[in-house]
Symmetry: C2
Subunit: 252 residues, 2 copies
DNA sequence: AAGTGGTCTAGACCACAGC
DNA sequence: CTGTGGTCTAGACCACTTG
């Protein structure tokens, strides 16, 4: 054994480490192709499955991604900044601005797969809205696509009895969006709570967001409150974690 | 083929799907042992590596975790709630309360691996603090362990010239922590910004937080500002995503 | 057409957990 | 000790991308 000493880690880990170092030191740039399975087999004298396992490590770390028939490549990132408090300031939606305009920075954001239906409230939503499970709610779903890459899926739940007949039940909610309409209905949102979690995506989520392996999702559950602490909307969002930085700024 | 029609997915996916359904329908509860590699080989008539791949899917989704020599088990979760704005309200630290006391909910939280050193500022920190890269900063690191499970690693950076001689350079910062001391030094934090990202952990992070495979980390970078928008602290935190729900509540 | 990654098989030896 | 998952080999066929 030429390299005496530290040799207690498996071969595939040593290969993965070597590639990771090469990436972090800049020898491979974002978008570059890494040595393929055949290269690693030849270069390290190892079986196919072992070379494959090494590349699998980098993919599950989110550092590299494979493209069928082409190779394994170093991933590149260019996240959006989502300003959680500023975006919901009244000046944003009070005058008919789209809340989404603020963080796109000259890239094109398309809204996709819009659907508006009336359904029975799921248990967790019913609890927050203060109704019974199965009570009718208006469910608004939509997907946001940035430069052909889906980055966010959002589903809003609102009390059907509250929004019946308003533009909220239409695909186009009009200037200022849902919150401007709620204000007109006498349920102006004055307080918000956002809860954030992160986990690996389900198969469905990975498909809808076109996520490459090793990419977690961030989940934001926002509740909008009108006066008296009355919850008027629950919005569940699923974000591609590689596409977003969330920002919250506030005073002590 | 008995089940005609939809048979275009690989065997390992079908096996994984079947197990996932069984978990989500409650047939396997958190903590339960799943069928092992041998069971799947026998039950589905597949090779070892295929059964293994199926179990690997569930692990990389964070749904299951393997224990060497024992089996593969359904994971269980019990996250903390971290109230991002409330925790930094002045009433919390103004009277000597530990900011961490608010969210432990009767479980025991231990602070671990405390270190206080003086180093040259890394580039990204220097930029935020408004100094030159390499300028001396006080670096405070610590790890938080909840019921024997590490959940958070935090590293604070403060201008060395600002905090020299204060308790901030000691392991024990005294009642009210860093922010109370900064206030005494005439740099009371009045504004905060928190930036949140998520990604898969590095090997180091996975070790320090004892993460099981398929668990992302959440990164919080908090900047504390004194009067005139002067940045006085940068705090980089790495959280086990399975242990935390972040919460931000604010008015429109 | 050649090369790539994706799936799959049928073996092997090892370290570790639990009985 | 027996069974478990972790590593590793040496083949195979396939679908896809690219030149």
């Amino acid at each position: 054994m030429s390299t005496e000493g530290a040799k207690r880690q498996p071969k595939y880990q040593r290969i993965a480490d070597e590639l990771r170092d090469a990436i972090q030191s800049g020898r491979y740039q974002p978008g570059d192709r890494l040595p393929g399975e055949n290269d690693l087999m030849a270069g390290h004298g190892v079986a196919r499955m072992t070379a494959r396992q090494a590349l699998g490590v980098l993919q599950s770390e989110g550092i590299a991604e494979s493209r069928k028939g082409a190779g394994v490549f170093v991933r590149s990132f260019r996240p959006l900044r989502r300003q959680g408090i500023k975006r919901l300031a009244q000046s944003q939606w009070g005058e008919g601005r789209s809340v989404w305009a603020v963080d796109t920075e000259d890239r094109t954001l398309v809204v996709d797969q819009v659907s508006v239906t009336e359904q029975g409230a799921p248990e967790r939503v019913a609890r927050v809205l203060g109704v019974e499970q199965g009570d009718p709610v208006c469910v608004r779903s939509r997907r946001f696509v940035l430069d052909d890459k889906p980055v966010l899926i959002a589903t809003s739940y609102l009390l059907a009895s509250l929004v019946a007949g308003s533009a909220i039940t239409q695909e186009d909610t009009g200037p200022g969006g849902i919150y401007a309409r709620l204000a007109e209905l006498g349920s102006k949102p004055v307080h918000f709570r956002e809860e954030i979690r992160s986990r690996m995506p389900s198969t469905d989520e990975a498909e809808q967001l076109k996520l490459s392996t090793g990419t977690p999702v961030m989940l934001i559950c926002r509740t909008a409150f009108a006066d008296e602490g009355r919850a008027v909307e629950v919005n569940e969002m699923t974000l591609d974690s590689a596409s977003y930085i969330l920002e919250y700024a506030f005073d002590a």
